[in-house]
């Protein structure tokens, strides 16, 4: 019961952080929703001239101009050009010129670690995207800190008092990978009294500022007391920097997949530092087909593979597999 209320309070905070960046009219509609529904919103999809869509855990809904959820398209609130203009200005903190790097990557991280993906017309420079203009679509993903989310996983990932196993969390998008990773980092960094785990130094490369939700370099979300965060740094480079500079026991990063990421991980494994990473994917078979990641799995370097899904809600642990024997550890 306590956990549920704590969760609700956290979720409200997330919406409180997002409301100020929504345009007036949409802000009014969203704040008119009952708190219990606000707390379930995972995503805002705002496209110019199209209906406003809210993504909830139970599916997508339109929002009517009266501020009610509806599944009828005719009743939906239509996003106006003025809304879009205001939204762009608000998510950029009226400083679009300062966000060229972010625009190149297609998203802006909001205070609190929420991510606003954006689309528009790409401006090219020598065949590479220089920036975006005429921004017309935006997808705000609500990032929620759920303390204790990783507790059921911990007994499978701790290697006695020595540290953790090399672990990879895999799931399709929107299954709570990042939330799970954040809580895992928090717990192993703080130490876990119940399991007699003392806590280790964690080096976190937060390329998209989603895990620690850094604002001006300072984590806004709780990632533990022994965690050093390299914010906005490319993963491969960042992981090597941390290994050399901060003497971490565990190196962590979100959404690895490129060849250079895997190469950096191999280096880290050789340095005797544990890795804790996530990747997109829905099964080991799928992962094994991917050029860089497949190699990591096939070489049996990774000791624990955690598969997340949403069969029983977001963040369901579907399976935990021992990377050496490729057998399930029997979590269903």
């Amino acid at each position: 019961m306590n956990q549920t209320t704590a969760r609700l309070r956290c979720r409200d905070r997330a919406i409180q952080e997002i409301l100020p960046v929504l345009p007036d009219s949409i802000r009014r509609l969203v704040s008119a929703l009952p708190l219990s529904i606000q707390a379930k919103v995972e995503e805002f999809r705002i496209r110019q001239g199209k209906p406003l869509i809210l993504g909830l855990s139970s599916g997508d809904y339109f929002l009517s101009p009266k501020g009610q959820l509806t599944s009828r398209r005719q009743e939906a609130y239509q996003v106006t050009p003025r809304d879009m203009e205001q939204l762009v200005e608000l998510i950029s903190g009226s400083s679009l010129y300062a966000l060229e790097e972010e625009l190149r990557n297609g998203f802006i991280t909001l205070p609190g670690g929420h991510r606003a993906g954006i689309t528009g017309k790409a401006v090219l420079d020598n065949g590479r995207v220089r920036t975006l203009k005429y921004l017309s679509g935006c997808n705000i993903r609500v990032s929620r800190e759920i303390k204790g989310a990783a507790t059921p996983l911990l007994p499978y990932l701790l290697d006695g008092r020595r540290g953790i196993y090399h672990t990879i969390l895999i799931s399709p998008p929107r299954c709570g990978k990042t939330t799970m990773l954040r809580d895992l980092i928090r717990q192993i960094s703080n130490g876990i009294e119940e399991l007699g785990f003392p806590g280790v130094n964690v080096g976190l490369v937060d390329e998209r500022s989603e895990i620690a939700g850094c604002y001006k370099g300072i984590p806004q979300l709780d990632v533990g007391i022994r965690t050093d965060v390299l914010d906005g740094c490319p993963k491969a480079q960042g992981m090597m920097m941390l290994v050399r500079s901060m003497g971490p026991g565990v190196i962590s990063a979100d959404e690895i997949g490129r060849r250079e990421d895997v190469e950096a991980i191999e280096e880290i494994l050789n340095a005797g530092v544990k890795v804790l990473v996530t990747a997109h994917g829905s099964s080991i078979a799928e992962l094994a087909c991917r050029p860089a990641l497949g190699q990591l799995i096939q070489a049996k370097w990774i000791e624990r593979i955690v598969i997340l899904g949403r069969s029983r809600g977001v963040g369901t642990v579907e399976d935990i597999i021992d990377g050496k024997t490729m057998r399930s550890l029997g979590v269903k």
Partner: protein, 172 residues
């Protein structure tokens, strides 16, 4: 004796009034120049340091001439005071507070207003264009204001005293 004192007071009052009007004429070009150099500072913040606008405004407020400081510090304060405010709104609110206390004319205000509507809303190159346009317009306005000042400052400083004297003569 009493009459003489009254006459002196009329001359002094009218003379000071004239001086005040003259001071107002000399103030406008100074304000316009200060605005222009403040915008220059803002450009540096925007283009070279890519400082987010609220912070850039606060920094300019800390460095610029005290004639225009209230405008920038107010705009920065508006950002800090309410979440979910756009640059155009913050700038407009600051202008509403700043303008009545200045010697600026409505056409000067409109230069600042149109700059506000584009602040922070586009990439660097575009911001530079808008800032340069505003600076250029302020420069033209300054030239006009200086000319006007040269003509009117002398006129009003004499006119006040002379007007006072004439009044005294007529009443006598």
């Amino acid at each position: 004796m009493l009459k003489l004192m009254g006459a002196a007071m009329v001359v002094a009052a009218s003379g000071l009034g004239g001086l005040a009007v003259a001071a107002n004429y000399s103030r406008r070009p100074r304000e316009l120049k200060a605005l222009r150099s403040a915008l220059q500072m803002l450009e540096t913040e925007v283009v070279y340091s890519a400082t987010p606008l609220p912070e850039a405004l606060a920094r300019v407020a800390g460095k610029c001439d005290r004639l225009v400081e209230p405008l920038f510090s107010r705009a920065a304060a508006e950002f800090a005071a309410s979440t979910g405010i756009t640059a155009a709104d913050a700038w407009e609110k600051a202008l509403v507070h700043y303008y009545p206390g200045t010697a600026l004319k409505p056409q000067d205000l409109s230069i600042l207003r149109s700059l506000g509507s584009s602040l922070g809303r586009s990439d660097r190159e575009d911001q530079v264009k808008h800032l340069h346009l505003a600076m250029e317009q302020l420069k033209t306005a300054t030239a006009g204001a200086e000319e006007e000042a040269a003509r009117n400052i002398k006129l009003w400083s004499y006119l006040g005293f002379l007007g006072g004297l004439i009044t005294v003569l007529v009443i006598y």
